[in-house]
Amino acid sequence: MNSVATLVAQIQGLSGSTSDVNQLHTILKQFEDLFKSESTRLAPLLTELNPSIHSLGYLYILEACSSAPISKEQASELVLSVARFIDLSAAEQIRLAPDKFISVCKRFKDQIMLLEDPMRGVAPMLTALRKLQYSSVQLTTLHPDFLLLCLLAKCYKTGLSILEDDIFEVDQPRDFFLYCYYGGMICIGQKKFSKALELLHNVVTAPMSVLNAIAIEAYKKYILVSLIHLGQFSISFPKYTSSVAQRNLKNFSQPYLELVNSYCTGKISELESFVQANNEKFESDKNLGLVKQVVSSMYKRNIQRLTQTYLTLSLQDIAHTVQLNSAKEAEMHVLQMIQDGEIYATINQKDGMVRFLEDPEQYKTCEMIERIDSSIQRMMVLSRKLTDMGEQLSCDPLYLGKVGRERQRFDFDDFDTVPSKFTI
């Protein structure tokens, strides 16, 4: 216990400036074994420390406590204290020991799941995530856990706020897959199909050397979202898709590909009977809700096609062309679509006629100009990133080595400074 007491004193003493904290960090690392052996008796120490000032020390002790097996009663307490710690801790200190922090948060998540109360974990996880990231373009291991909690707690909007950040750096491919998959599901929940399509597309086309289950499930949802949002699905993969994915993904999604064929015939009755026949398969994949949305999207697409050909059309004709049962149903559908902003039209109930209007957007407003301007700015930033990346790569010794080896020797035009043999 003596060493533990000195430990506490040192933590309290060396949490002032950055150099002190670094020193503390080194000391703490030396006490690794102590932590492991005394883990059950460390909890009371926490009361002597201030989480916001002594974050690093607090973290080490907390991590030791949480890695020990915990009873159910203690779980709730632990959850509370971890949540409090996450809230109050100092981000710079935490970033010195990211592994410990991640370990604490993961245990936290496990306990939350055991307690079956995901709502309690959403806010703390969000804070934890933000503190762990050194920039918003980084994907941490905590991202997918956070999104999972959002999904389980049905807090989709909170999840969306994270998804709006652009990600450019990934530590672990597995995190990336889960992040995109859960993110896709959240976007589907919020009916942001465009973003969902983008995320699911990234999973399916990500570089992978072995097929994983996440990609398979993502592919199924990808097909469905593509049908809902774009009205079509192309079975050919883009060139950059891994060969593993190209060869194998289709084998696992047979009923979905047949659904695509059924959809492309344009006949509602065929589509519905196909869905009926394959009900259990879709149900077992938990995709039945999405499949139902696919069916209703077909009605919408057929009505939208009518806006291209007709100026006015009777509700009866609409019902007939789109294969609805009555003019009343057609009116319901058209009304819903007008409210959702999917078509522009007016319904004349006296004549039973619908008048299709042009898109009133004239592209003359200030908002539109701002939108275009911000778009241009974004493009420029992205282009800059691309050029920077290209420059970095061209200075990379590994790359140069490879290029140098493959170059022809004695090229007349190439009497330049890049040597033909580049040893590192």
């Binding site: 652009d166 450019f168 491919p173 990500a206 950059y240 778009s375």
Partner: protein
């Protein structure tokens, strides 16, 4: 309505073109009855052709005409024609089809068939011996003639695959471009009979490469064959052009495949006239599958031309002009609009068609925003993928170092 007159006016001009292109006056007068709306005169039709195509066409007519007397007529003439040749297989087929309906003169004649078969065996043996002799002597010209004779032999006996193989074998022994052209023409003939039009196209282009050996008649023959191949491949516009290029040079020299007025027939277009022709065109061996599609396309073209000059068109008047009801006209127009062949919108309430000119400015803005979004998405995805690959590479590199 002025536009209507214009449309029919154009059609009349087409008819005149057709009449003028039919060769000299006498011939055209003699040929005209065949293409009219009256019942097809099978005998006169068959008289235009010679050789194997005559038999094939007669059999086709017999199959498709649906009229018992015409059918028997065609079968009778086919029988006579086959007896002049040496194709026993075809003979047996025709006999089966006639089924004794034409009396004892047109029944199975086994004696004749056997005699022909025996003769064929003998001839085949002789040809083989000759060919072997030539091959040992390595006389190029004789070998070529030998294979050619074999090809002719097989063709006469209806073994088209073997005929084709032998004709193609002469290729290695062709010394002048005249030989090559001869070989190509034979190959084309067999390919048309077999229905393999990809070969026709390739051999036509091969033959056209030896420019010096081509006289106008051969050129015309080649154009006809090319046109037929394009027709089969549903490339109607190109086929029409090829047939146009054929011109009157053809005369009567390609009766093994096609008759002069077929060339004109395959090209001519006139709405009502065509309607009458339809029944007879269905009996033509090459056009059969395409008549429906061609008719539809011609009608669509007329519809498009009709609506082109107007800002608004009353559907009732248009339905009258096109001899159809307003409802079906609406359906046809809907299909054309969906395929983007007419730029218009239908006011179903008042039954008027309004021309619609796409707003270029709005469309451009929409495209711009869309392209921006796509670029954004693609580049971000690319940067991410690059990052993932870099990690994987680093992982591999570091594991190698350890």
């Amino acid at each position: 309505m002025e536009a209507e007159d214009e449309a029919t006016g154009q059609m009349i001009e087409d008819e005149e073109i057709y009449v003028n292109g039919g060769g000299d006056g006498d011939e055209s007068k003699r040929h005209r009855p065949i293409i009219s709306g009256e019942q097809l005169d099978v005998e006169a039709y068959a008289a235009l052709y010679t050789g194997r195509t005559k038999i094939s066409r007669l059999l086709f007519i017999a199959e498709k005409c649906g009229n018992a007397s015409m059918q028997l007529d065609a079968l009778r003439m086919a029988y006579d024609e086959i007896k002049k040749g040496e194709n026993t297989q075809l003979f047996r087929e025709v006999v089966a089809k006639i089924d004794g309906r034409l009396g004892p003169n047109y029944g199975p004649d086994n004696a004749w068939a056997d005699a022909v078969d025996r003769r064929a065996e003998l001839r085949k043996e002789r040809l083989e011996n000759e060919l072997n002799a030539y091959r040992t002597n390595l006389i190029k010209e004789s070998i070529r003639m030998g294979y050619n004779d074999f090809g002719d032999f097989y063709f006469a006996h209806g073994q088209l695959g073997d005929a084709f193989k032998n004709y193609v074998r002469t290729r290695d022994y062709c010394t002048t471009s005249k030989h090559i052209v001869h070989m190509c023409l034979n190959a084309i003939l067999v390919s048309i009979e077999m229905g393999q039009f990809t070969h026709v196209t390739s051999y036509v282009s091969k033959a056209e490469q030896s420019q010096d050996a081509l006289d106008p008649i051969t050129i015309a023959k080649l154009r006809c064959a090319a046109g037929l191949a394009l027709l089969e491949g549903k490339k109607y516009k190109l086929a029409a052009r090829k047939f146009l290029e054929t011109g009157p040079d053809l005369g009567n020299s390609y009766t093994e495949v096609i008759a002069p007025q077929d060339v004109a027939t395959h090209y001519a277009s006139c709405l009502e006239y065509l309607g009458n022709l339809k029944a007879n065109l269905l009996l033509d061996i090459h056009l059969h599958d395409h008549v429906e599609t061609l008719y539809e396309q011609i009608r669509n073209k007329a519809l498009i031309q009709y609506t082109h000059p107007f800002v608004s068109v009353d559907l009732h008047m248009m339905a009258n002009a096109f001899n159809t009801s307003v409802a079906s006209l609406e359906k046809e127009l809907e299909a054309l609009i969906t395929n983007n062949q007419i730029q218009a919108r239908i006011d179903s309430h008042n039954k008027i068609l309004y021309a619609r000119h796409a707003d270029q400015r709005n469309a451009t803005f929409q495209r711009v925003l869309q392209t921006g979004n796509e670029f954004d998405r693609e580049v971000r995805a690319m940067l991410l993928r690059a990052n993932l690959i870099k990690h994987e590479f680093n992982l591999k590199a570091s594991s190698r170092k350890h």
